[in-house]
Structure formats: C-alpha cells, structure tokens
C-alpha cells in the first residue's frame, strides 16, 4: 500500500520532522515502553513481583504462544491473516499424543507432526495464492477442518508417558550460577541459582525467534515478505518471487503452529482436542500490540515477542492481584489493543503526512497518502 511505502523511506523528508525516532520503530518502541511501565507498576503494587522467576515464568507459560505469534508475524507482515493456528496447534498436540500412545518413536513423531504442519500451511497458501480465495476465508476453512480432525482423532485428553517428553518437561535449565564452597573438595563449584530457571521449551521457542529474526530481517525471502505486504502489485512488477513467498509464509505459520503444539505437549504432558481455542486471537493481538499493521508491510519479530510478554504480564497481574476474576484478562487485552491501535493511528497520522501540510496549517488538505492508497486499491480491483 502506498501509505506504508511513504514511511518506508522517510529520510527524504524526515529532516523537517522533530520526532527523532525512526517512525518505523515507533510502535514497537511504544510496546517496549509499555512493557517496562507495566513492570514498574507491578513491582510497586506487588511485593514479590520483581523476581527473575516471575519473568522467566512468562516465557515458560507462553513458549507455545510465542512460537505461534512468530509464525503469525510472517503472515501479517505479508498482508494476510491465519485463523487456523489455534486449531493446527490442537491437531499437532492430539496427533503426537495419539501416536506416542501407540508406541511410535518420539523423534519420528516430532518430525512427522512438523512436516504435517508445514504441509497444512502450504495447502492453505496454495488455496490463497492460486485460487484467489481470501486469506480470511481459506484459513477459516482450514481452522474448521483442523478442529474437526482433532475431534475425530479423540474427544478426550490423551496423556503422554513417553520418557523423552517427560524428561523434557521436568528438566529445568538454570540460568544464573553462583560460586559456592564445596565441602567435599575444599574448593568451590558453580551451582545454579534455585529461582532462575527455564524449561527446554523456552530454549526451543527462543531458537525459533532467533531463526525467524534472521530470516525475516536479513534474507531475500524476508524482504520479499515485507514487499508483498507493502504492495503486492509492486512486488510482482519488481520481479520478486511473490507466489512462492506467499505460499511459504502460510507454510511457516503452519510449521510454527505444529512446533507450538509439540511445546504444549511437553508443557502439559498431554494432548487435548479443545486446546488453543481462541489462540489465533491471542496471537493476532500479540502481533498487533508488538507494532505490526494488519494491512501488512510493517512489524518486527521482536515486537511480537514483547507483545506476547505483555499479554503474559496482564495475566500475571491478575494472578498476583487475586481479587480480579479471569475474565478481566480479556477486557484488559481488548483495552490494550485499543490503546495500541489509537497510538499507531496517531503516529501514522503524524509521520505519514507530507511535510508541507505541517507548515501550512490553514487549509485542511486532503490526506494525499491515504487518497493515493485508495486509488491504488481501486486500480487493483478487478472491474
């Protein structure tokens, strides 16, 4: 969209703007500021809030959402949407739990489930790219189908007793070590601090974040994703591999959802068919709070990570408070979304306006950029 590309290359006219922050980073910086602000408020209100483990628990309890939100980031930056993630997470969970119960090799199960997630996402991408079905409808059908497959596979929760999964779920990886005297050797040894650990799932989730970060921000594929979200027609005219990239974006989201499902398997040591209902909303909310625009072309992997942490922090607040009921989480998240949309709206009004309209305040000049965007969209419309 033209509105997005106006801010993509701000240097030409940024000289006249007082705001020194690159406008591309502004929403994400606002997200980080909000996170810090929430931590300050939390530590002032609740005595035990400011401890390492409270924050590490944010990662532990939301490792699967983190991975799913990373996949969603790719889709949203490309200008699409993926409603199927929650259902694909549940499908991956129930499938791996069932196969493990039937005595399959865990490594094989993980490989199979990840492949299936990738293929499921690709199938949706193919429908979107080659049959011109809108992402909303294609992934909605994908969500219905995946959820249906979950219910067909099993209606009840399936426990996991596989030794690899149990080991992974019980392992605690210490992050900080202290040197303490060791009475056996008359020397000192490194001992992990007791209240600062993460689970292996967190390590995997962070690994996914790092890979996604590199792919999205430092690869040709990543740049193509941004280009498609900015303006698909331009991307095609530039000779970028648009069809392949669009299919791959949904495949990545499917792969991330399957990964999220396996991490949730490890977290809960079970698979249940009703898992992840409404998870697509949480993921979309996290990505938006992280500074992405649902029109595409904007957003950062790290922004989405902070978005997930903020959603987790809201929940932690409510747990610490104790008097607020669980439904306040939804209301707070809705409120946060609203605040973020308004902030983005304000920022985009300020930064996307052409410099002349800042100086000449007399006539209410039409928002040229917006008009250009609409005209562009009108050109793209099939008549």
């Amino acid at each position: 969209m033209a509105a997005a590309s106006g801010a993509r290359f701000p240097s030409a006219w940024m000289a006249g703007v007082r705001l020194r922050v690159d406008p591309r980073y502004a929403p994400t910086l606002a997200t980080i500021a909000l996170f810090v602000g929430m931590v300050v408020v939390g530590s002032l209100r609740f005595p035990n809030f400011l401890s390492a483990q409270v924050f590490l628990n944010l990662l532990i309890d939301h490792s699967f959402l983190l991975v799913v939100a990373v996949g969603m980031t790719f889709v949203i930056i490309s200008g699409g949407i993926d409603l199927s993630v929650g259902a694909v997470v549940a499908l991956a969970m129930i499938l791996s739990a069932k196969l493990l119960r039937q005595g399959w090799n865990p490594a094989l199960v993980v490989a199979l489930v990840l492949t299936l997630g990738f293929l499921y996402g690709s199938a949706q991408g193919l429908l979107i790219q080659y049959f011109d079905i809108q992402p909303f409808i294609a992934t909605l059908a994908g969500m219905i189908f995946a959820r249906g497959l979950c219910y067909v596979t099993s209606l009840d929760s399936i426990p996991i007793r596989d030794s690899l999964y149990t080991a992974a779920s019980q392992t605690r990886i210490g992050l900080f070590f202290v040197r303490t005297p060791d009475y056996h050797y008359y020397g000192t040894v490194l001992v992990p601090v007791r209240d600062a650990f993460v689970s292996p799932a967190v390590v995997i989730a962070l690994l996914v974040v790092v890979i996604a970060f590199v792919v999205l921000h430092y690869s040709r594929f990543g740049r193509t994703v941004y280009a498609i979200g900015g303006n698909e027609s331009s991307a095609v005219l530039m000779g970028l591999a648009v069809p392949r990239t669009k299919v791959l974006v949904y495949a990545i989201s499917g792969l991330c959802s399957a990964t999220g499902g396996i991490l949730w398997n490890v977290y809960s040591l079970s698979g249940f068919p009703r898992a992840g209902i409404g998870m697509e909303l949480d993921a979309i909310a996290a990505v938006v709070v992280g500074g992405a625009l649902l029109t595409g072309g904007y957003g950062y992997v790290l922004g989405s990570v902070v978005g997930v942490l903020i959603l987790g922090l809201v929940q932690t607040f409510i747990e610490f408070d104790g008097t607020l009921s669980s439904w306040w989480t939804k209301i707070f998240i809705g409120g946060l979304l609203l605040v973020f949309i308004l902030v983005q709206r304000l920022l985009s009004r300020r930064t996307l306006r052409l410099p002349r309209s800042r100086r000449v305040r007399a006539a209410p000049s039409p928002p040229l950029v917006e008009q250009a965007a609409v005209e562009q969209a009108a050109v793209e419309r099939p008549t």
Binding site: I137, A138, G148, G334, G335, I341, R345
Partner: protein
C-alpha cells in the same frame, strides 16, 4: 432450455443453491420422510422447519454483516455482542422479583437492544470517526466483549424461567417459528430500505471507492456508522434468539464462532469481502447452506464431533466453484475448445 440452464449456471447463487438441493436430496435418499412436514398442536414440524429455524440467527447476523462487508468493512464482534445481549437480558430478568412476567421480558429485551445499539455505535465510531481498519477495530470488541459478558454474568451460566422470553427463540406464530418470522421481517425491511431507496447504492459506492464516494457528496462517515449500528442490532436480536432458545445465558459459549459462520454465509452468498456489490438474498441462501449442512450431517448419523470435517470441504468447494479464478479458467478452456472446433472446419 439450455439457454435458461446456462443463465442459471452463470448466476452467482447457482452453486450455493445446488449445494442446498444436493444436500436435501441426499437426506431424502438416506431417510425417505426427510422432507415431510406435519402439523402438530397448530405448529409446523419437520426437518425443513428445523433447518429454517436453526439458520435464522446466522442469517440475521449475516444480514448486518452483508451491509458491513458491502461498505468494505467487516464486523468480528458479533459473537461477543450475542454473548453480551444474552447476558444482559437474562441477568436483568433473573434480578426482577417475578421473573416470569411479560414486563420483565420486555424490559430485558429493551435493555439488551439498547446495549447492542451502543456497541454497534462504538464500532462505527472506531471505524468511521477514528478511521481504524474495520478488522482490527472490531477485534477490540471481539476480545473484550466476551470478557464483558462474563463480567455481567459473573462467569456463571444464568438460567431463567420466563415463557415470554423463551418464545423469542422457541415460539410459533401462525404455525411458523418466531425466529424465522423475525429474520424474514428483518430481511424484507432491509431489502426495502436499501433497494427501494438510494441507501444500498450508497453503501456499495463506499465499498467500491470510499474517497470517490465522499468527493461525490455521499456522507460516507454517517453511512458507515449506520451500517455498524445495524450489524450490532442484528447480532443483539440473534443473541436473544440463541439465549431464549435454551433459556440460559452462557457468556463463554453463546455465539462462539458465529461471526465466522455469518461471514461464511455472506461469502457463500456471493458478496465479495473486498466490498461493493452485495446480495441480501445471497446471504439467506448462504446461511441455509450452512444450516442444511449441519442438519444433513446429523441426519446421516455422523457423530457430532465429525461434522466440522464435512463442513470445511463443502465450504471450500462452494467458494472455489464461485471464484472468479475458476470462471477465468473455465472460460479459457471453453474458448480453446471453440477455437479448436473452428480450426477443424475446412476452409
């Protein structure tokens, strides 16, 4: 005959109608008395009546959704509005001294409708005045709304005993179910208001090009606002139908995913999500494709847990068959065939 057939196949409602006919035919084959309708206690009973009654809430929400989508918007919050409407009316009725009275039911319904109008106006405010993208503006209420509904019911399922309220979802007038009559009346009213006046054309104009429509003097802001208020109103009334049918307000599950069903009904009815031209009749057909599908799955004795697996392929098939892309491919194929036939003719 073939010309008529070709005209019918060229119509955008051809495939959804074929889907309904095929499904009902399959039902009739599987269970011969499927189509029979009988009179009992002065009411019509039968599977077809059930299909109509179960499709009514989706069709009604689809009505508001059609207008919103025609204006190049989308309303994701209708499911949350359904939950809030049910929660408000039921918690009011429970709080009255004699909860079985007509006045309790009427006031409960009135409060719910007022709330629905406010919620619709809120969406309209975000979209029209603040200029936020519709999908995300309504996402706010979709996420927060269910929390608000739980707040109203304190997380409980509120069960009520009020025969007047129960009639909204389960009553009959002139042998027909009340939800069907309400939905029919709403569609007739909407049809008259949008097709007998310029309103429908104005909505389509906004959907096709908002800026151009504003420059030609259309009050785009006001009309967009109206469209979201109508959607909120439709969702509220559908919420009353759904809660009154079971005489209980379940903030968690009432209207869960109904926004997706409604959007599907609109898309199946041939209205493009890109805005512009819309068809109210198409939405009715779309809604009944969905409810016929559900009934068919039950009729075939397929376990309830498996019906989603059958729903998705039908949806994809109808959307694919309707898509411009398929038409292009088919046209290309036809042209090629004609060309090859032409070239075969000796000169």
């Amino acid at each position: 005959m073939t010309a008529t057939l070709r005209r019918f196949m060229g119509h955008r409602l051809a495939w959804p109608l074929i889907a309904v006919i095929v499904l009902i035919a399959a039902d009739e084959v599987a269970r011969p008395a499927f189509l029979s309708i009988r009179m009992q206690d002065g009411h019509l009973y039968g599977n077809v009546v059930d299909i109509l009654r179960n499709g009514a809430p989706i069709a009604l929400i689809g009505l508001g959704m059609t207008l919103v989508i025609a204006s190049r918007g989308i309303d994701l919050s209708v499911g949350a509005v359904v939950a809030i409407a049910g929660a408000i009316s039921c918690s009011y009725i429970v709080s009255t001294h004699h909860q079985g009275t007509l006045s309790a039911a009427l006031v409960g319904v009135a409060i719910a409708i007022a709330a629905g109008l406010v919620l619709g106006a809120w969406n309209g405010f975000l979209v029209s005045t603040l200029g936020i993208q519709p999908i995300i503006a309504t996402l706010v209420l979709m996420v927060a709304g269910r929390g608000v509904a739980q707040l109203i019911t304190s997380g409980q399922i509120i069960t009520i005993h009020n025969s007047y309220y129960h009639a909204i979802g389960d009553g009959y007038v002139l042998t027909l179910p009340i939800p069907v009559l309400i939905t029919m009346a709403a569609f007739v009213l909407a049809g008259i208001l949008t097709r007998r006046t310029a309103l429908g054309t104005l909505i389509e104009a906004i959907g096709i090009n908002p800026v151009a429509s504003r420059l030609t003097g259309i009050r785009a802001g006001t009309i967009v606002w109206i469209v979201y208020v109508v959607s909120g109103l439709c969702a509220t009334v559908a919420g009353l139908m759904i809660t009154s049918n079971v005489s209980a307000a379940d903030a968690n599950n009432a209207g869960l995913f109904i926004e997706l069903d409604a959007i599907l009904a609109v898309v199946l009815g041939g209205t493009s999500l890109r805005g512009g031209r819309y068809s109210l009749v198409g939405t009715i057909v779309g809604a009944f494709v969905l409810s016929t599908l559900t009934t068919t799955v039950y009729n075939f004795g397929i376990p309830a847990n498996e019906n989603l697996v059958f729903e998705a392929p039908v949806v994809i098939a109808v959307v694919l068959l309707q898509s411009e892309r398929r038409r292009e491919l088919l046209d290309l194929w036809r042209r090629r065939r004609i060309r090859s036939q032409v070239s075969e003719v000796p000169a």
